[in-house]
């Protein structure tokens, strides 16, 4: 047993050693100004293992290494806590380093607006967006509503007559995607009865009739729809999605509600990352995005494709943040 304990301790030390790779700015800049990394590139997943951020980080690292797109190692570290705030603070501390990046998505805009993170999207250097997911609004198969307009008609008459459940807390993604669409349909969004279930009990609550509407990601609904247990009233994408079952889901837009919500996911560098390094990574993410290996991973996880380079990404985020701030202020959830 002693031996086992010993090996375990050694193993743990290795693990922790691997996590504290040194940080410094640098890299090699050639005469014509092209930058290349000089040491391993650390990707931070601002959450624990197993979630969306972690999976994106690990899969990107894997494809970069295996397809030899980048000839340096790309270790992934998990900095969980504060809904991302801990990880963001960690990367913010690596100011100027071209060998650090992290995975970001709408919480990077929403959490700071809720007053729960010192750092927000505008503190970091957007590198590239790679993935888009969309929201879906789900009811039980025998519910009285057949489309979003039926539902929103009832909610316009009495917003409190309908209960909505999602995994994230109010003011975060599941809530905001529903609010954004409902507002466009003319519902008084300040009166929406939103319930949060961080233990992912939303689907259960809809199946047993405790709650009326479940707001979630598109991929999470497919299997239950196939089994005939639930129906999807609408999704938040611009156009219908491709794929078996998926292509049956009507968008909010085609139901006359002119609004969308994108659950974007991309990579960010620390504040003031060297523009030459950003350019280098942009190029590499483009290669990643176009590689068959990444396409396979996208299909496996049901992720949509959405590539944006650093400049497009910055523009997109700005508009996104303004939209969200307006909505949060209306809901009385903005704290800045």
């Amino acid at each position: 047993m002693k031996k086992i304990l010993g090996t375990a301790a050694a193993f743990m030390m290795l693990l922790t050693a691997g996590c504290s790779s040194q940080s410094s700015s640098g890299g090699n800049t050639s005469e014509n100004g092209e930058w290349t990394p000089s040491q391993p590139i650390e990707i931070t997943a601002p959450a624990g293992p197993g979630g969306g951020w972690d999976t994106t980080a690990r899969m990107a690292s894997q494809v970069f290494e295996q397809e030899k797109i980048i000839d340096k190692r790309l270790p992934v570290v998990n900095k969980a806590g504060g809904g991302g705030a801990i990880g963001w603070a960690y990367v913010a501390g690596k100011e100027g380093s071209p060998h650090h990046m992290f995975v970001g998505s709408p919480p990077l805009v929403l959490v700071p607006l809720n007053g729960q993170s010192e750092y927000g999207y505008d503190d970091f250097t957007p590198i590239a967006n790679v993935i888009a997911d969309y929201g879906a609004f789900v009811v039980k198969a025998d519910a009285k509503w057949d489309n979003l307009n039926d539902l929103f008609e009832d909610m316009k008459k009495d917003p409190a007559s309908v209960s909505v459940i999602g995994t994230s807390s109010p003011g975060s993604m599941d809530h905001m995607q529903f609010v954004k669409i409902a507002k466009a349909a003319g519902v008084d969004v300040t009166k929406i009865k939103y319930i949060s279930d961080p233990d992912a009990g939303g689907l259960t609550a809809v199946l047993n009739g405790s709650v009326d509407v479940y707001t979630t990601g598109v991929a999470e609904t497919i299997e239950q729809v196939r089994a005939g247990k639930i129906k999807v009233l609408g999704i938040t994408s611009e156009e219908r999605l491709e794929g078996e079952v998926l292509s049956d889901f009507p968008t909010a837009k085609e139901q006359g509600i002119d609004e969308t919500f994108i659950n974007w996911r991309g990579f960010f560098g620390p504040p003031n990352m060297d523009p030459a390094a950003v350019e280098y990574y942009e190029q590499k993410f483009k290669e990643l995005n176009d590689s068959p290996a990444w396409d396979e991973i996208r299909k496996k996880y049901g992720w949509g494709e959405l590539y944006m380079d650093s400049e497009e990404y910055s523009e997109f985020l700005k508009i996104e943040a303004e939209d969200m701030e307006t909505l949060l202020e209306e809901l009385g959830l903005a704290r800045n």
Binding site: A9, P49, G83, I86, E118, D197, T204, E223
Partner: protein
């Protein structure tokens, strides 16, 4: 018979050379990480996902499932030997397991835990095999109101977890309730009691509290009593043999808690931890000599150990038949399914019968492996106790620190761990029991959330509990368990000794 054919094909997978090998690897890894305080099945499975990328999905899932139930199986060792629960599900195991080990019966305690785990695991696999399609309806029958009632019932355990003063038990539980409110409130998104510290936003991890209040507090006591030689016999492993009398005592709890644990496991969100606590209190309530509980009772050890393993089996019902993860570990496991191209849900049994039945069949094999892996290892595992005390104390401290650091790789958690170690030690000095604290911490968070969800749905009206038969029954039962002893003890009071009066007040 379709199910029979399915099971046969499942056994074919489980008994193939590859199947047996990977079940073995799974349960071996699981036992090992279960034994290490802090290393949990969540990170082990998450690390395995990329490795299994190109494997046959059934074989890969069989292995990862093995890690999951193997960890609960193995978690009992550190609870019993060091009072340091390896996983959340084995906190209740320490209540009677550790005292037993201190009495020089470590071998017996480990053997009882292994047999109880095996029984709970095997019974739950049988139930899983027979009833999964039917039970998927049970799994979704619990809404927020029902969860609140279930947690409420769990809370009635506080009085039975008290060693002596009930008042002290309630004060300790209140502290647990206070601590669990730290962090972002899920219903409003407001941060509570974080004092602007982002490290507290997600609340305090359960393991920080468990290792602080139990393991570190124990270490402090050991250091304080280092010259005290009366406890030297605790180095003895003792006989592994379980007498017929012991077996007879275990039979009741094992039968009942296999069933109860399984059903609680089926409910998403309840899980092994709550199952083990409810098992502990129901057995204490039913026991002829409840005063033995907490002092090394065989029943008090067998009950939670059976229940946590049975609950682990039960957790596969919502996962396989609905695609609903009931816990953090099953959520990661669900992710593993998806990566391997298998979608758990109502159609799994038709679409991929070999996966469905393969996992179930492998769990029979896995449980047998766990038993034959664990029983012969007991003398070696128990040698931990022979380690000289100064070494042992250092080891417990090191492992607690590593375990907590491994949760989030955040040094802040280490300070918290030390703080809770000190709190736990002070609580011991003035004989405040730590168990009600941890129980309130586990139940409190879910209970508050369930209550507020319920009241949001009902627009603030409490009458919603009257409309829900399951919730009403559970609350009724809880009230009875609180009130009945009050009345009976009042009657006894007239003839009771002064010592007893103290207990009641």
């Amino acid at each position: 018979m379709d199910a029979f054919q399915g099971l046969m094909s499942g056994f074919q997978v489980a008994f193939s050379l590859q199947g047996i090998l990977f079940v073995f690897i799974g349960v071996f890894v699981g036992t090992f990480i279960g034994m290490m305080p802090g290393l949990g099945p969540i990170s082990a499975i998450a690390i395995m996902i990329p490795i299994t990328y190109s494997m046959d999905p059934t074989v890969a899932l069989v292995m990862m499932a093995g890690v999951y139930y193997g960890a609960i199986f193995g978690g009992s060792s550190s609870s019993i030997l060091l009072n340091a629960p390896g996983v959340a599900g084995t906190v209740a195991t320490a209540f009677d397991g550790y005292p037993m080990a201190q009495q020089g019966k470590a071998g017996k305690a480990l053997a009882i835990a292994a047999i109880a785990s095996f029984t709970g695991g095997t019974v739950s696999v049988i139930l899983l095999m027979l009833f999964t399609p039917m039970l998927s309806a049970v799994a979704v029958s619990f809404g927020p109101a029902e969860y609140f009632a279930l947690m409420f019932m769990g809370l009635t355990a506080i009085s039975s977890l008290s060693e002596g003063s009930t008042i002290k038990a309630f004060i300790s539980a209140t502290l647990g309730f206070i601590v669990v409110t730290i962090g972002i409130d899920s219903q409003t998104g407001t941060s509570r009691f974080t004092f602007g510290n982002p490290n507290l936003l997600e609340g305090i991890d359960f393991l920080v509290i468990a290792l602080g209040l139990f393991a570190l507090a124990e270490v402090c006591t050991l250091v304080l009593n280092r010259k005290d030689d009366t406890m030297s016999n605790n180095k003895e492993l003792g006989s592994l043999r379980i007498s017929k009398q012991d077996m007879k005592e275990m039979r009741g709890p094992m039968t009942r808690q296999s069933l109860l644990g399984f059903i609680i496991g089926v409910l998403p969100g309840a899980g092994a931890t709550i199952a083990s606590f409810i098992a502990y209190i129901t057995e204490k309530k039913m026991a002829k000599n409840p005063e033995e509980f907490g002092k090394g009772s065989i029943k008090g050890l067998a009950a939670p150990e059976t229940a946590n393993n049975a609950a682990t089996g039960g957790a596969f019902v919502p996962l396989l038949s609905l695609g609903i993860p009931g816990s953090g570990t099953t959520a990661v496991l669900l992710g593993a399914f998806l990566v391997l191209g298998v979608q758990p849900g109502p159609l799994l049994i038709q679409d991929r019968p070999e996966v469905f039945w393969g996992i179930i069949a492998s769990m029979y094999v896995g449980n047998i492996f766990l038993l034959i892996l664990n029983l012969p290892l007991i003398p070696y595992i128990a040698k931990v106790l022979r380690i000289p005390r100064p070494m042992l104390i250092s080891l417990v401290i090191i492992f607690s620190l590593i375990g907590v650091y491994a949760i989030s790789f955040n040094t802040f958690d280490l300070y918290l761990l030390v703080a809770f170690g000190i709190i736990g030690f002070l609580m011991r000095m003035v004989s405040f029991p730590a168990a009600p604290f941890i129980l309130a911490f586990i139940l409190g968070g879910m209970m508050e959330q369930a209550l507020r969800q319920t009241l949001t749905i009902s627009n603030g009206s409490l009458s919603i509990f009257l409309d829900k038969p399951i919730a009403l029954t559970l609350i009724g039962v809880s009230l009875l368990t609180i009130l009945v002893p009050l009345f009976t003890s009042k009657r006894k009071l007239t003839e009771a000794s002064p010592e007893k009066q103290k207990n009641i007040s």
